[in-house]
């Protein structure tokens, strides 16, 4: 009897002992398809070559500009902070939704998501050549990043400054950058890598500090000012422009929006494609429901 009980206990252990955690099983692969794919991949990269997605060629230049406003203002809030109070104070502003005069939505990134295959005419207007490697300043003061949302070209040097009397470190994970910026000094990097959406900039010494950086190979991007205004100048005309809209709190803006008083539905921040003629200027008056940001 004793032996039986022992065996029974052992058995229960054996039964329950398998696999501590069970996860949903992955779908089984279709081996015929895998074989076909493998065969197609057989020659490796040399045999395939990069995809040629964009076939239309632009004809001239157009401008897209506008204003993004909310249906109501959003009150600014602050949060308590607890490090280096002699410099940082005890409260820091929460800047994930900032509205200005006329309920303009500040710090929205509006950018062209099309693949821009070249940096020459007809894709990129010659006027952008002058600013291609202009240094962009990114400063911090009183433990606040002065540019809360910053957009720049991948070719522009980013000069990270520290105007505080204490040390900061600036970490941009997307660029694998994390360096100490001593008080009153600066460091400079060239991002080189383009982002598909704005990526956080943080300081580990003062964890409440946060900003967002967006890098783009082409110059067609804008960050809205306190009136919610943005302008994409000299975008290529005659192609289907795909413009995406990103905001810190809502990320890519999705759902019902009003553009020039007409209802639209955006998915993943994508405006309906627009094709502009040479010399056109498109004005967009975009109104977003404040509920999206609460």
């Amino acid at each position: 009897m004793k032996i039986q009980i022992t065996i029974a206990i052992l058995s229960v252990v054996a039964l329950s002992g398998c696999d501590v955690r069970k996860f949903a099983t992955d779908p089984a692969v279709n081996v015929t398809e895998v074989a076909a794919l493998r065969k197609a991949l057989g020659g490796g990269a040399a045999a395939v070559g990069p995809s040629t997605a964009e076939t239309a060629t632009p004809v001239g230049w157009a401008t897209v500009q506008g204003k993004i406003t909310l249906t109501a203002a959003v009150a600014t809030t602050t949060k308590g902070v607890d490090k280096d109070p002699q410099v940082c104070g005890t409260m820091a502003p929460v800047e994930d939704v900032v509205t200005g005069p006329g309920n303009g939505l500040k710090n929205v990134v509006v950018f062209l998501a099309n693949k821009i295959p070249s940096e020459e005419t007809p894709w990129v207007h010659p006027s952008y050549a002058a600013t291609k490697d202009t240094v962009v300043d990114f400063d911090q003061k009183k433990c606040i990043f002065l540019s809360h949302v910053l957009a720049m070209r991948t070719s522009q040097p980013l000069k990270i400054l520290n105007s505080d009397p204490i040390g900061h470190n600036t970490s941009i994970n997307f660029l694998s950058y994390n360096s100490i910026i001593p008080s009153g000094s600066s460091d400079q990097i060239v991002p080189a890598k383009a982002m598909s959406e704005p990526s956080p900039v943080t300081c580990s010494i003062h964890p409440w500090m946060q900003a967002f950086l967006f890098t783009s190979k082409h110059p067609y991007f804008a960050v809205t000012d306190e009136n919610g205004a943005f302008k994409l100048e000299n975008v290529p005309a005659g192609i289907d422009l795909e413009i995406r809209v990103w905001q810190e709190k809502s990320k890519f803006i999705s759902g019902d929006v009003k553009v020039n008083d007409a209802a639209q539905k955006w998915s993943k921040g994508r405006m309906p494609k627009m094709n502009l003629a040479d010399g056109d200027s498109k004005d967009l008056n975009i109104v977003l429901d404040v509920a999206m940001f609460q």
Binding site: L15, V48, G49, I180, S183, S185
Partner: protein, 420 residues
């Protein structure tokens, strides 16, 4: 009746006991948590999912590119000798079932030595992972802490070999110094292979959620490819995935270690002046070590961060998402604790050169930033550390375990007061 029931349980139980828990076929597990994260980020509706067909497509592309744990494959890359990154023969002996061939060469090395912690897919979630702190490394994001290269660059082969040979002090990672060099080369190659596979997988999930014309509302989810007999057409469809492989592999080809400026004079453990200078730097505003490692150096300065591996699954104010990711197979996130420098245990190696790399390059995946460097002949008006400052700092850090903590930091000193 009870007796019969007991007997029945015994028979069934014994059967299971005899058969064991072994999974029948070794398969790579998809990174479902990352899939979910990308769905939430890119599908525009938190409740939306990719279709089962799309998930199967991802598995098929990955299998076509990288094979299976029993039969790994390293895809060819234009203009790159992939054998230098992951040699097919080395992959073969690292992969598969444990055993040896007729020449006595051991096979299945990964499954013999690594899999129980690092998992069959290299996800750092093997069966023993749950008992370990720190967790075993998840290779799939392709991020490595202990390396001689700059932030953003991959570790060199030597860096991986050092970790394999020495283990990681203060963690469950043991030394594999008893394996011969070819076996260690094979494991390093296999780890690179798992990272490359994991990084490509992440790109595919991002692509499938962000770039395909998915429409959750109309329930339209296009496939990632359509199988056709037309080889050219199929190749064209696979081009984006080939490009992902090219991008990932390019970073793994010949990463360069950062050159080290030799100290002015040989490092000496008893160099009290250097230690005192290092101490001032440790507590100073430029290196600012104290802000995370703490006034005491016990690693208690800043304890609410996450490293990249855990931090990926934590979103402020959304614990339900973390729970969902954990249910999909990631390790429950843990805070990153800055190193206690009073122990004299250095995970990335205790040699001064290791500490030099940690300080000047920062630690990838963790929050440790790179120290701001300046030229050796730069004046005091330029803020930063000279290479010789870094050596002083290293001298102090190496002296910390022997410094008394029983007095407040302002009064204690390992050296005579006049030297400070």
């Amino acid at each position: 009746m009870f007796r019969n029931l007991g007997l029945l349980a015994s028979v069934v139980g014994l059967g299971v006991f005899a058969i064991g828990c072994d999974a029948p076929v070794a398969n790579f597990r998809l990174n479902r948590a990352f899939e979910r994260k990308m769905e939430i980020a890119n599908l525009g509706d938190e409740k939306a999912h990719l279709s089962t067909q799309q998930v199967q497509d991802v598995a098929e592309i990955l299998t076509a590119l990288f094979g299976t744990p029993d039969d790994p494959n390293m895809p060819a890359v234009e203009g790159v000798d992939v054998a230098k990154v992951a040699d097919p023969y080395l992959l073969k002996i690292a992969a598969g079932k444990v055993g040896s061939d007729q020449n006595g060469v051991a096979h299945g090395l990964y499954r013999e030595h690594c899999v129980h912690c690092h998992g069959i897919s290299g996800d750092g979630a093997g069966p023993t992972a749950y008992f370990l702190n720190p967790y075993p490394r998840d290779y799939r994001p392709g991020i490595y802490k202990f390396k001689s290269t700059k932030k953003g660059a991959k570790p060199t082969h030597d860096d991986l070999m050092k970790t394999l040979k020495n283990g990681i002090a203060g963690t469950a990672m043991p030394s594999f110094a008893l394996l011969d060099d070819q076996e260690l080369d094979a494991l390093a190659a296999y780890v690179r292979y798992l990272s490359i596979r994991g990084e490509v997988e992440r790109k595919i999930w991002t692509y499938a959620t962000a770039d395909l014309e998915n429409d959750p509302e109309k329930n339209e989810f296009p496939r990632l490819f359509e199988v056709t007999d037309d080889q050219d057409k199929l190749k064209e469809q696979l081009a984006p995935y080939v490009e992902m492989v090219n991008e990932v592999v390019a970073n793994w080809v010949a990463p360069e270690p950062v050159a080290i400026a030799a100290p002015k004079k040989e490092l000496q453990v008893q160099d009290v002046e250097s230690i005192a200078r290092g101490r001032a730097l440790f507590y100073g505003q430029i290196a600012n070590c104290v802000s995370c490692h703490g006034e005491s150096g016990l690693g208690d300065g800043q304890r609410d961060f996450y490293d990249d591996w855990s931090g990926e699954w934590v979103e402020k104010g959304k614990p339900q998402l973390t729970a969902e990711y954990v249910a999909l197979g990631v390790m429950p996130p843990r805070n990153l604790i800055p190193r206690n420098l009073r122990l004299g245990v250095y995970r990335g190696g205790h040699r001064p050169i290791d500490l030099y790399w940690r300080i000047t390059n920062g630690i990838e995946g963790a929050q440790m930033p790179a120290a701001p460097m300046k030229a050796a002949d730069a004046g005091p008006e330029v803020k930063g550390l000279t290479p010789s400052d870094v050596w002083d700092l290293i001298n102090y850090v190496r002296a910390m375990p022997y410094e008394a903590l029983s007095q407040p930091p302002a009064q204690q000193s390992p050296v005579a007061k006049e030297n400070l």
